[in-house]
Amino acid sequence: MCIAVPSKVIKIEGKVAETELGGVIRKVSIEMVPEVKVGDYVMVHAGLAISIVDKEEAEMQMELWEELMEVLNDAADRND
């Protein structure tokens, strides 16, 4: 039930933003993310944006993952 989907903010009018997900435009409340800007991605749960997606973190995560795999698999090779 705690599902939240990332949607792109395309227009802001006061406490409400128009967001786009897969071509569908939806109005969501941005009361909980007042610092949001047009172009940001927000996580939307039941009509309310609960978090702004951090693009840098998203990219860094992939790098971190590959790095970690590298280290762990080197360790595995040494154990073989």
Partner: protein, 353 residues
């Protein structure tokens, strides 16, 4: 970027390298994690001693039987019941919202409580009651409607508040002796609360946790983080693209403004101190419990033969329940863990063990 199959192979090897050897139970406490784990078949990637078990992470499933009964009672008070879709099939002792709707009562499904408020505003002659079910993720949305109803003086909207909060349930599980070595912590609950609320897990119980995202790679990464820290358990965030350490302060502020903690009864876990929320006095005009004099009453009666309670505590896998797949199926569910689309029994039934 690595190819998918190569990635999975590498992940498997990484997990084997970190395998502590002894039994290592990882409990997820979010229905979306339950579904993702089954859907992606993640259990098959793990060595036998590392088990993924489900906890009380599905809000509909943990709603107590007598709470469901009180919702049914409310439906008979000449009101419009506004609810999330998941709740309407859940059977109470005598009926369900679906059966009440078939019998002519007004039960409306809304995607958002904000839509329910709008409906109330457009239909001033109808009493609209939103059924507030869900964890910290959902609470701010409901809080926004109560605040807005007060500001706009919408008098025909109220909330029947059955919300529950996560940390005290985790404490109750561990105090009850649940055999858990690490928690996969809920991503969107934590987007609201931040990570601090879980610090008692390593401090008081020596159990670590990782706040995880919902993609297969997120969950695998979180499992690796848990295994890496098993000697020195800590709380970490894997889902950093969405979850900040301090959580969403605006959302915390509005929760605090509208609600205060209260005791709450969970299916399978019983009454847990401070694990529920009730509407503060200042907003009592919007509290359906007071407005319609409704509360959960009577003993908590379990459905005969149904072991949802044990499933919710991670004591058994769904397919260890005698009803599973025989009398209790997705088409004809008996217990809430099969009724809810994100219940552990529904996940096992749909995707296999």
């Amino acid at each position: 970027m690595m190819q998918q199959t190569e990635m999975i192979e590498k992940t498997k090897r990484a997990i084997e390298t970190l395998n502590p050897g002894g039994p290592f139970n990882i409990m997820e406490v979010c229905g979306s994690h339950t579904m993702a784990i089954s859907k992606f078949g993640l259990r098959q990637l793990l060595p036998k001693n590392i088990r993924l078990i489900s906890g009380p992470g599905c809000p509909v499933c943990v709603t107590a039987q007598n709470e469901i009964d009180s919702v049914i009672e409310l439906a008979n008070k000449n009101v419009v019941i506004a609810t999330f879709g998941d709740l309407i099939r859940v059977p109470g002792n005598r009926s369900s919202l679906q059966a009440e709707r078939a019998a002519g009562k007004e039960v409306k499904v809304f995607y958002s409580p904000l839509d329910a408020l709008k409906y109330a505003e457009e239909n001033p002659k109808k009493e609209v009651v939103f059924i507030g079910i869900g964890f910290e993720t959902t609470v701010p949305t409901v809080a926004v409607t109560i605040k807005e109803a007060k500001e706009k003086n919408i008098k025909n909207y109220s909330v029947y508040c059955l919300h529950k909060t996560m940390p005290e349930a985790l404490r109750a599980l561990l105090e009850g002796g649940s055999n858990v070595q690490g928690f996969l912590l809920p991503g969107h609950v934590s987007a609201i609360t931040g990570s601090k609320i879980y610090e008692f897990l390593p401090k008081e119980f020596g159990v670590g946790g990782v706040i995880s995202g919902f993609e297969a790679m997120d969950i695998l990464m979180s499992i690796i983080m848990l295994l890496k820290n098993y000697k020195k358990p800590v709380i970490e965030i894997q889902y950093k693209r969405v979850v900040r350490k301090e959580g969403n302060l605006e959302a915390q502020k509005i929760i605090e403004e509208i609600f205060e903690p209260c005791d709450s009864t969970w299916r399978g876990l019983g009454e847990i101190k401070g694990s529920g929320l009730k509407i503060r006095d200042k907003y009592k005009d919007f509290d359906a419990a007071l407005k319609f004099d409704i509360k959960p009453i009577g003993e908590e009666i379990e459905i005969k033969g149904c072991r949802c309670g044990d499933v919710l505590k991670g004591n058994i896998y769904p397919n260890e329940c005698p009803l599973f797949g025989k009398v209790c199926t997705s088409e004809n569910p008996v217990g809430p863990c099969m009724v809810s689309s994100e219940g552990s029994c529904a996940a096992f039934y749909k995707y296999g063990a």
